[in-house]
């Protein structure tokens, strides 16, 4: 009597584990493709010669302009430089129509979070790669994954709940900010990062 009971029990357990660890994480996120498969690799390093701050700049009032406006792209790409299909989209769909590119921003902070690139870059002298990893040398853009419940970008929240196999730049949860602040003996008060 107990044997089949135990079996059923284990079957239930297994069922939950599969749903919970494989189906649920997959179903939780909505995937969106970026409007253009932008290649950081082409623009930076030996090939492109641009540095991060050429496009992502900190203004004199300490505000970070984030993803550059179309104007910036258009300053080089007023007409197609290469022959790639992505560049054709850029020129035909956005530059020539003067439409801003609706980028999906992986690292966009929640509205209640305050983050100053100026203090991290200028005062703490952090490298871009410290938080953004090798993103700057990637050849294509990963799909943007949006949590269906919270609306947050998955890249911010890490790949898995248990945060196994997580690269140092993969995600920036509140804990990550706090960890780094703690390591560097920076205050961890709420108002430090919340607005």
């Amino acid at each position: 009597m107990l044997k089949p009971g135990l079996l059923r029990f284990l079957a239930g357990l297994f069922f939950s584990l599969v749903i919970g660890w494989y189906v649920f994480p997959y179903a939780l996120y909505e995937k969106f493709e970026q409007p253009i498969q932008f290649s950081h690799k082409v623009h930076t390093g030996e090939t492109g010669g641009l540095s991060c701050t050429d496009c992502h700049e900190i203004k004199s009032d300490g505000r970070f302009s984030g993803i550059p406006a179309l104007e910036k792209c258009a300053s080089c790409h007023s007409s197609a430089i290469g022959t790639s299909s992505q560049e054709k989209i850029l020129v035909d769909e956005y530059v020539s129509k003067n439409r801003e590119i609706p980028w999906l921003i992986y690292a966009k902070q929640p509205q209640n979070v305050y983050f100053s690139h100026a203090s991290h870059v200028k005062l703490a002298a952090l490298e871009c790669t410290e938080c953004h990893g090798s993103h700057g040398s990637s050849d294509s853009l990963r799909p943007f994954q949006r949590n269906r419940i919270s609306g947050y970008s998955r890249d911010i929240w890490g790949s898995t709940m248990s945060r196994i196999n997580r690269a140092s730049w993969d995600g920036a949860k509140m804990d990550d900010c706090e960890n780094c602040h703690d390591r560097r003996h920076v205050a961890n008060t709420c108002l430090k990062c919340h607005k």
Binding site: G62, Y114, A118, K122
Partner: protein, 256 residues
């Protein structure tokens, strides 16, 4: 709750003799901090005004009746802060880097214990979802997050402005900011310059010196909460009423 005395402790000194009770501070605060307009059903007791101008009367009949206006925001208690210790989930915190009592609405779950605890009635619960007329949401200040229904909010000395000032300093490679770089919206908007703002830890600052003026008083000082908002008045009756706790000598019922 240790106070780091090397970091600034921001405070405010309000000259009530200069205050005309115009209400600029209240609306400037609402604009700065993305406080929504009133719900049609909101009242004096359910509305949200981080800075609230109250009227203090001398209690005499017409025409001897005189009143002063007291703009009362969060008093940023420095010691035994009544709201910090009561919050069950650390949504209220004494910010050691500025002396500001921080309210983090996204942590708050709306139990309103802090509202009950605050003797200054400086805390406001969002009874309604914030609603802005169509298009007006474009006028929201990006330096301050909007809040949702069901949480408590209050004055934080326009902390968004402090963050902006710090970011600007950081861009220039500075770690400290001058007093003049950071003024809350109420102080900036006061047409009679009744509101002084600055670092109380700096003995040479405007507010430090004014706070030691013999005209200075604080609200409910005897409770020992060490508010960082001071008031100035030359009028004896103002001091007398504030000290004599007229409140327990109840005059009547009201919606106050």
């Amino acid at each position: 709750m240790e106070t780091n005395h090397t970091s600034p402790r921001y405070g405010m000194v309000i000259d009530v003799d200069r205050c005309t009770g115009c209400g600029n501070c209240m609306v400037a605060c609402a604009v700065e901090n993305n406080v929504p307009p009133a719900d049609p059903k909101a009242t004096e007791r359910t509305g949200t005004t981080w800075m609230r101008v109250s009227k203090l009367e001398n209690g005499l009949p017409f025409p001897e009746n005189r009143s002063v206006y007291l703009p009362v925001s969060c008093q940023q208690c420095d010691h035994h802060t009544p709201c910090v210790s009561v919050c069950p989930q650390n949504a209220v915190e004494y910010d050691t880097e500025s002396g500001i009592v921080a309210q983090i609405p996204v942590r708050c779950f709306g139990c309103r214990y802090c509202v009950t605890a605050c003797p200054y009635h400086a805390r406001y619960y969002n009874w309604w979802d914030p609603v802005w007329p169509e298009g007006m949401e474009k006028t929201l200040n990006p330096d301050v997050s909007t809040r949702m229904r069901g949480v408590v909010e209050k004055c934080n000395f326009c902390h968004g402005r402090l963050q902006a000032a710090r970011a600007k300093a950081a861009a220039e490679g500075r770690r400290t900011i001058a007093d003049a770089e950071y003024v809350p919206a109420c102080g900036e908007s006061c047409p009679t310059h009744a509101i002084h703002f600055g670092n109380l830890s700096d003995p040479n600052s405007d507010v430090s010196m004014l706070s030691k003026d013999k005209r200075a008083f604080r609200l409910l000082e005897e409770l020992g909460t060490e508010p960082k908002v001071y008031f100035l008045s030359e009028q004896d009756w103002v001091h007398a009423i504030v000290k004599n706790k007229i409140s327990t000598e109840l005059k009547g019922h009201g919606n106050g």
